[in-house]
Amino acid sequence: MPATMLSDLCDVDALAAARSTRWRPGLAAPAHSEIFAGGSEGGGAGLALALACDALRSSLVEDEDRRAVLWVQDRAAVRLTGRPYRPGLPVELRRRLIHVVAEKAEDALFALEEGLRCRELAFVIGELTGNPKALDFTASRRLSLAAEKYGVPLWLVRLDAQRDLSSARMRWDVRAAASPAPRWNAVAPGNPSWRAELFRARAHAPGEWILRDDGRSLVAAPPHSVGVAAAAGDRPLAAG
């Protein structure tokens, strides 16, 4: 879309719509994001990984990134959704994962903050269940500040949680969505897709998208016309 057209759009909705077509979720990822997801699906961690990898890919790192990745889970998250499984991880992360199991939410927050203060980590993923008392606004603010100060992004997955007070810069609500049919076996599950609602963000208007990981980048499509978007081709919408 030509840039001159943006000046013609005056109302916010149209502006947001225009931006949402140009936008790719991994571009300009904030330091601290929260992803709300159900405890009986793998979508939360899946989207967090996809967003993190997309952000890593779009940031300008010339040589191969070998920095480790910290994945912190509390005990209830391990029980609900299991532990990360190395053969199923994205290929570029398989050798780099360091996994932490914390018994309590306080320990998990400590581990997250220590991870954020470490300069040798690519990003930190946290999985917390419910709304623990320890994770109040102050704790969330600490995490945001640490992430911004040391430049290590934090992707915090909240399983089965209410939308509480938080200082995260982007807050998503994610559910699984029907995946596109693979080319060779139309009845098989395809590349993972998620119906993601961005309900609070600093740098972007809220909205709802179908996000899909096509192996190279994260593609955002409007939620109601999945078939159309798929027909339009799988190019990242940022290119359009």
Binding site: S40, R86, L97, V101, A102, A111, E114, G115
Partner: protein, 509 residues
């Protein structure tokens, strides 16, 4: 280097007499008390001439030679003497190891020219031992096993050059030259294998089958033979006098409060940092000991994921460990010891201040996590060679080097997360032995919309019982879009149980 008469030589040195003179002229045996009575550990020349042998009961020996004198043997003293000898023997090489109870191994690689060749080195060593009135049999060979064999059973002062064919040179030696246990020697003798060359004569696979359950080198002639020929490595423990860096503070006044203890620990960490810096070392394991006035000692250990000597980091880690120390009536001495150190080059210091601005290093971060959350909580997944999905991944310490493993097969689609235990699901079949149409998991019924499978994974017969059932894995997507990895445990008619159960094992992204 073999000292065949170490015990007797030591006794003679203690008596201060020359060989065959004074008290040594009479038959004498050194004995040890056993459950069945005194047993002879060593005999002198006169005793040997009279018929006493090592390993004989004293009563039997007395019937042969009624005037046999006895003295108690002293194995601990012999071992300590051997330890001193090992250090003394480092004059012929930079590295030596004990081969208890009566041998020494010295590494003379690239040393012989200093003595004018290997022959003259051996002559020099023989002369030195003779001056100390010790009987020694010496040999030089490329491997420790070959040197042992030559010194015990080979010619006097034998030398095996690296270019020689060791198997051919040693084939005349008896099988006892392989350092085997007695019962293995009996087995070999019954098999008619008397010389090393005989072992080459029969096939390796036959020997391997005969000794397949013997894992220890002393019980398996094949391993010993490989060590002798240098096909497998044989680690030896060197005698090196190494002192662990140690700092301590004796306190004028016993301390009972935490702030003072923290101050002492900080001082000690500073001392330790200087000590380690002088040696160019970093600590991997630290032990702190707190001596209390009433005689109790509290010890705390700390393991670090990478070598460090940063005092602030050490203090910070110890502060978590010292929370549960009971000071009692007061602590009067604190000692810090680095029992495991690794070389660490000098570098710019002041990591804590740098951490405030630039962030911590990964090793420091992992240390803090490990100290607070425990060893088991911070780990990394590594691949393990197994078909079973839950066995194909193991958890190892985070900075440990990854073991070599085969890469995952690209056409295997695996879930992002695996449950610790597969959860049982109730299913509604679409076809009798195909995939289900709907299933109930965690109290919720889900309809299956898309499915891929089965991927059949058979049980590992070399590991599991014969009644273990195979698994048919399916990747599925339900009508809501959630993707799972489920399997059927067994087949309908496989005769290994009733109707097969279904389990949900993994969650896909």
């Amino acid at each position: 280097m073999w000292l065949p008469r170490l015990a007797i030589d030591r006794w003679r040195l203690g008596e201060g007499c020359a060989r065959g003179e004074g008290p040594d002229a009479d038959p004498l045996a050194l004995i040890a008390e056993t459950a069945h009575g005194p047993r002879i550990d060593a005999v002198n020349d006169a005793g040997r001439a009279a018929g006493a042998r090592r390993g004989m009961m004293l009563a039997d020996a007395r019937t042969l030679c009624p005037r046999l004198k006895v003295a108690p043997s002293d194995p601990e003293g012999d071992l300590a003497f051997l330890g001193k000898l090992a250090v003394w023997a480092q004059r012929w090489g930079p590295w030596s190891a004990l081969d208890a109870p009566d041998g020494l191994v010295i590494d003379v690689t690239a040393v012989a020219h200093l003595f004018g060749g290997e022959t003259r080195l051996l002559a020099d060593a023989q002369a030195a031992f003779a001056r100390r009135r010790l009987t020694a049999r010496l040999a030089i060979a490329p491997t420790a096993g070959a040197a042992w064999a030559l010194s015990h059973f080979g010619p006097e002062r034998a030398i095996l050059q690296p270019g020689d064919d060791a198997a051919a040179c040693l084939e005349e030696l008896p099988v006892a030259a392989l350092r085997l246990d007695d019962e293995v020697l009996v087995v070999l003798r019954r098999l008619g294998l008397k010389r090393l060359g005989d072992l080459h004569g029969i096939g390796r696979s036959a020997l391997h089958r005969r000794f397949r359950n013997r894992k220890s080198p002393a019980a398996n002639p094949l391993i010993r033979m490989d060590q002798l020929l240098g096909r497998v490595s044989e680690p030896l423990l060197p005698v090196v006098r190494r002192q662990a860096p140690l700092v301590q503070r004796r306190l004028l006044e016993p301390i009972r409060h935490r702030e003072l203890l923290d101050q002492v620990v900080a001082d000690l960490a500073g001392d330790m940092a200087r000590e380690l810096e002088g040696k160019g070392q970093g600590a991997r394991r630290l032990e702190i000991g707190l001596w209390r006035v009433d005689g109790e000692v509290a010890m705390r250990h700390l393991e670090l994921s990478a070598a460090t000597r940063d005092p602030a980091h050490v203090c910070r880690l110890f502060s978590a460990k010292l929370d549960d120390v009971d000071a009692g009536f007061g602590i009067e001495m604190v000692r810090l010891r680095a029992s495991w150190t690794e070389p660490l080059a000098l570098e710019q210091g002041d990591i804590e201040a740098a951490a405030e601005t630039q962030g911590t290093s990964l090793a420091a971060c992992l240390d803090r996590l490990t100290v607070r959350l425990g060893e088991k909580a911070v780990r990394r997944p590594v691949l393990h060679a197994s078909h079973m999905p839950e066995r194909a991944q193991r958890w190892r310490p985070p900075l440990e080097r990854e073991p070599a493993a085969q890469e995952e097969l690209r056409f295997h689609a695996r879930p992002l997360k695996l449950l610790d235990r597969a959860e049982k699901i109730a299913v509604l079949y679409a076809t009798p032995d195909g995939h289900p149409k709907a299933f109930r998991w965690r109290g919720q019924v889900r309809e299956i919309a898309r499915v891929e499978g089965p991927e059949r994974i058979a049980p590992e017969w070399w590991r599991s019982k014969s009644t273990a059932r195979l698994r048919d894995y399916y990747r599925i997507e339900d009508t809501a879009g959630c993707r799972y990895w489920i399997y059927r445990h067994g087949l309908m008619e496989d005769g290994r149980g009733g109707l097969p159960d279904w389990f949900l094992q993994g969650l896909c992204a």
